[in-house]
């Protein structure tokens, strides 16, 4: 945890967009142009704010310094940034599960991780080169509250042990992990 200014973190930005074509794309430019890595976009098209705007939640990864640049750039482009930064930011964790992923009910595994830890699954990839009945792997990206990563990993370990799955955890310490 040494060079904290270089450390990439996960952030959630809530924006209110005017209901016009191209607005979402225009909002993503300041993020990409300032070195942010988009993780997910939650676009509630049917749900309007009291002011008639569309709420959009963007998860992204960036260093703290770049994140400040992103928020500034969004404001400069006249976007209404509702929430950004420390209050909302969470940690992301990527893990790889291996074993009889499918046969041990992947969907149950994921919902138990969610229930047990309050972590949200933000991304999932599956590789089953020998078919779903054989040993396969899943890469799961979890968003957790800052400071809750160890607790989340503990819970993942317990569930994996029960289902005889191998967990490859991320290395959290150090300069580049």
């Amino acid at each position: 945890m040494s060079d904290s200014t270089d450390e990439v973190r996960a952030y959630t930005v809530r924006l209110e967009l005017v209901d016009e074509p191209g607005e979402l794309l225009r909002a993503l430019h300041p993020i990409a142009d300032n070195g942010g890595n988009l993780l997910s976009i939650f676009h509630e098209r049917g749900n309007l704010t009291p002011r008639g705007h569309i709420p959009v939640e963007v998860d992204l990864e960036a260093t703290p310094e770049r994140f400040d640049g992103i928020v500034d750039a969004l404001k400069e482009a006249d976007f209404n940034v509702i929430e950004a930064g420390a209050e909302q930011y969470s940690a992301t964790l990527t893990i790889v599960l291996s074993g009889h992923i499918v046969e041990t009910d992947l969907s149950d595994t994921l919902s138990r991780i969610h229930e047990g830890t309050n972590a949200t699954v933000t991304d999932l990839s599956l590789a089953a080169p020998q078919g779903a009945e054989d040993v396969s792997s899943a890469r799961v990206r979890l968003a957790t509250e800052e400071g809750a990563t160890e607790e989340t990993l503990d819970s993942v370990r317990t569930i994996a042990e029960e289902k005889d799955l191998t967990v490859v955890e991320p290395l959290l310490g150090g300069a580049d992990a």
Binding site: A127, E169, P170, A177
Partner: protein, 315 residues
């Protein structure tokens, strides 16, 4: 310095071959059954060719080598767990005779560090064991130079065999069994690879680092380590890691009083993601950020280099 070498495997014979280039004299060398002793310095080439042709290093007994006159005992017998014998006994004999000991054998330092420290404290001789962690890489001497209380954590890749297998699995998209067989053909993995692939070897090295960092306040043994190997990692896990710009490495960690070895996700371009048989150790320092030391973590001449560096520190 006059060296007595116990153990005539890859490390012991390399120390014997390289000693003269460091201006040391080998006055005794022993394997498990035999020994050669000559106070004027033994003929290394002839002794090692004896070992090749007849399977013995000389006409004397191993006990003769231990009782001979020397300045430093080089303990290079194979690492054993539990009571760490016969290595521990060799070290005890030398320290009780007030001689220095340089170990390449991890067993006594990982399994009986407390007793070893007491023996060393009561002796005129001292013990050094740089070669037990990371082959040629100066891990323990770096910790010693910085001061163990100024190092807050250590982590790294400390087993070349496991790292070679993971590197090949990621590069070729092959499964564990396939790559293990290839590694055995190349001589990178032993016929029984358990010690390397199940994380035991890396864990012993981490336990030794933990012992050095704790400075006698606590002592660690293999039992204190949480150890998980790589044999359950399928090729598909590395494939998914790679799609995400990451890879999997068998990482040993010493932090907050815990010792842990397990396969971990690390960024593909991270310093810790070394390839092939290369090893790396990363130290978190109190005042100077993160320090990486990397190099060849195993092999006869590589480990002998660390042994002879220790001998030099005793002069």
């Amino acid at each position: 310095m006059k060296l007595a070498i116990v153990g005539a495997g890859a490390v012991g014979t390399s120390v014997a071959e390289l000693a003269s280039t460091y201006d040391h004299t080998v006055t005794a060398i022993a394997d498990s059954k035999s020994a050669a002793v000559d106070p004027a310095g033994i003929d290394i080439a002839a002794t090692l060719s004896n070992k090749k042709s007849d399977g013995v290093v000389g006409a004397r007994s191993p006990a003769d080598a231990l009782e001979s006159d020397y300045d430093v005992l080089v303990e290079a017998t194979p690492t054993t767990l539990g009571d760490a014998q016969p290595g521990f006994g060799h070290v005890r004999t030398a320290l009780e005779r007030d001689r220095h000991v340089v170990l390449a054998n991890k067993g006594p330092v990982a399994e009986r560090f407390g007793e070893l420290s007491e023996l060393a404290a009561a002796s005129e001789g001292s013990i050094r064991f740089e070669a037990t962690v990371g082959g040629a890489i100066p891990v323990l001497s770096t910790i010693e130079d910085f001061g163990p209380n100024h190092i807050t954590a250590a982590r790294g890749v400390l087993n070349g065999t496991a790292n070679f297998i993971l590197t090949r699995m990621a590069a070729e998209g092959l499964d564990y069994d396939h790559v293990l067989a290839e590694a055995q053909d190349l001589g990178v993995a032993e016929a029984d690879p358990t010690f390397d692939v199940e994380g035991t070897d890396a864990a012993l090295k981490c336990v030794i680092i933990a012992n050095v960092l704790a400075q006698g306040e606590t002592t660690y043994t293999l039992e204190d380590a949480t150890v998980e190997g790589i044999s359950e990692i399928p090729g598909s896990a590395l494939e998914l890691a790679s799609e995400d710009g990451r890879t999997i490495r068998l990482i040993g960690e010493v932090a907050g009083g815990d010792v842990r070895v397990s396969p971990r996700l690390v960024p593909e371009n991270a310093a810790l993601a070394v390839s092939g048989t290369r090893n790396i150790v990363q130290l978190d320092t109190e005042h100077a950020g993160v320090l990486n030391v990397s190099g060849r973590g195993a092999g006869g001449p590589e480990t002998a280099t660390a042994v002879l560096a220790d001998v030099g520190r005793l002069e």
